[in-house]
Symmetry: C2
Subunit: 484 residues, 2 copies
Amino acid sequence: MEWTREKRYLPYSKWNAEELLDLQAEAANSDYQMRYHLRPISGLINDPNGFSYFNNEYHVFYQSYPFGAVHGLKSWVHFKSNDLVHWTNLGLAVKPDTKTDSHGAYSGSAKEINGKLFLIYTGNHRDQNWIRTPYQISAWMDKNGKVEDKKVLFKNPDNITEHFRDPQILEKDGNYYAILGAQDKAQKHGHIDVWKSSDLENWEELGFLNFSDEEMGYMIECPNLVQVDGHPTLIFCPQGLDKSIADYQNIYPNMYVTGSKIDFEQCQLTNPSKLQNFDDGFDVYATQAFNMPDGTAYAISWIGLPDTTYPTDKENWANCLSQVKKLSFKDGKLLQQPVDAIKTLRRNEENVDGQTIKENTTGQYELKIKIKPNQAGTLYLAANNDLSQNIALKFDTKQGQLILDRSKAGKVSVSYGETRQIALEGNSELDLDIFVDHSVIEVFVNNGEHVMTGRFFTNPDCQRIIFDHEIDYTGKFWNMESTM
Amino acid sequence: MEWTREKRYLPYSKWNAEELLDLQAEAANSDYQMRYHLRPISGLINDPNGFSYFNNEYHVFYQSYPFGAVHGLKSWVHFKSNDLVHWTNLGLAVKPDTKTDSHGAYSGSAKEINGKLFLIYTGNHRDQNWIRTPYQISAWMDKNGKVEDKKVLFKNPDNITEHFRDPQILEKDGNYYAILGAQDKAQKHGHIDVWKSSDLENWEELGFLNFSDEEMGYMIECPNLVQVDGHPTLIFCPQGLDKSIADYQNIYPNMYVTGSKIDFEQCQLTNPSKLQNFDDGFDVYATQAFNMPDGTAYAISWIGLPDTTYPTDKENWANCLSQVKKLSFKDGKLLQQPVDAIKTLRRNEENVDGQTIKENTTGQYELKIKIKPNQAGTLYLAANNDLSQNIALKFDTKQGQLILDRSKAGKVSVSYGETRQIALEGNSELDLDIFVDHSVIEVFVNNGEHVMTGRFFTNPDCQRIIFDHEIDYTGKFWNMESTM
């Protein structure tokens, strides 16, 4: 089947229900499907949207195209949770059903305001000549999940191209602010544009946020500001960023800077740090974070990348969201840690030792190990007997190095490299908290100083976990309960 | 909208995907929706089908009509589990896609045979004059959930009317047997018809099962034989049963008899007990049970009844399945108990005492209490402040009586009575393990000697639990985690 433009933007009402039920069953039955990560009910998902706390529950939406593994006509699908681990699927929430979001209800954010959930997102409109207009739209969701009262708030100002999207709603000192990804018309550079409103209806542009002296490539997507233990932290996706500014290997990076203070009125993040990769693996993008009323910061990421194909495309579904990560600051470092409630998924705890950790897993587990200092070796996961298939963690606790290697992990894109590497302190113990969910691996390194996330596609029956030789370590293994 | 015959039997491909997505969201967002019971993804569900153990996992399907709260064109929707509590939705599995199941892939059963799951079900066919032919059909499901190789095995023999359905596959002494609900042509009475095959392809009728001297009304649905601690136990749904034979109040009962021995060749259940209600509440029907390889017996029920409407019909969804119940025999009594893994859903354990147990629940909880002997009173659940809305348990531990009263539990059918009553031993402690899931209550009485199950529809904000006066009891309360 050819994914023509016409087909990708066909209204949902022109697809038939049997096709959708078949696509839902196909996604659900895949051996590569995630069972404790938020996954597509059918088709393709991308950015998390509207990650928030409302009516005493956590909420998250994701960008969804229900009819195949392509970026077609997008909508928001809604999930809620009491613990950030067990999610209830509440289904399609924001539809592309007005003229101003006719070609997609694109990414945005949410915040509880006066007992309702305020949504702000980008409506993607194309005219007959396929000229795009991005509308920034608000809507309100009530406690029964009903989204209504869509209203266009503003369009791209004259100095910004059609690349103007992904509003994040923020509140400070009694005013509302929105930050958006933008491309200026003059130089075609990426920016974060700041807007202000006192009533959520009338908005004025304050200008581009000053957070770096460097040029941010040709576009910034998904800007997201969150307070982490008092540090304003700006997470964003620069596209076309020069690698001399910040090193990265993915097609587009998901980066962050921290500062000492955010001043929206002056469009200033004070004392910005240098750019750093938010995740040190292969497939994290469009991370969205928010602060709880008590200040706790939680983040969730799209595991997937723009302009990238994956093997499950041929099964008509693609991508997932990451587990929720709790953000904190320690010794000047941003830490990302699993939320406590993830432990409620653990079943059948085992202490593990020896060269072979498991001969046969279910593909759905947590492995937490501490590797003693001054050793080098390889931990193979999702491996077969002759190790011709595996996803590998190559560690050196003398020099201080960790490599995630998916060169033997099935048909994943090789254009952007098959390994990701991080430097660690030498002569030190290495703490790895590894979460595997069929075709996703998330490795929390040294209590969250780094996270390495990746998709992998070894054969589903490759389920060994084994070191390449005897290693001095301690560890625990759990099967993880399904939540999806 | 009028549910014409044409509309109810419209092929799934004639509905549009947006309608289905809307129906799925509407069902998911309902305040009355179940969160730890198997519930409709959209539309109406009824009988559990194919409850079985296959490929080291538990499987169950349910009868589904995805497009509204009516009995339209039925299919099977598939779920699997590792623990009988956390279920993974695998979507549409058996479709009405051949001539012989053109008007519904009706109820049936499943059993692992030679590394695949053998399915047997009733294909419902109607001709142009709306004359019905029931075909008994087999199919095979592989480990990836793919159902194929549909084959018609047999039709109703000359002495049986079009009411011939719900085959259960059984194996004994190297032969396969199927038992089916049937109505004879001569007298229009209900029967259980026994069939035999050595190869699952060629089948011969052995005749009606002899398990009672009484007439079983005009039809028997959903016959199900299971071994419970060595006692062959026949669970079935007689329609039109004379109440002098066995007392019941529901429109149609779900009953069981036990015997000392089952002899399929002689069509004989030896030493049958009298008929007893499987559940002592309002809404249990079509219970399906099976034996694990080690003999353990598990049962699951439809919570819902034929020819009955519920308030959520106007939200376009209806019914759910019960929690899984472990069956055992003790002192000549059939016991039904929650499975151990249900405890993994418990959160926030509290000891409870006093007249008021909770002022405000989430509608999703387990309450386990022991009421001391020689007391009478009422426990109100899902109650509001003035108790004008509630579902009530009226107990008398002196005389030995328990009543489930839903007369103030919202708009539920009153035609078949608003209370259900059981007799208990007098002067004895009463042990109640009460599971509430928004609009479902399941009360396990005295460690499973009785189960009282019912739907209720008090306003969603009615969330008090309170006794009518001070009662001498001990108890524990847990919030229950969502699984759906």
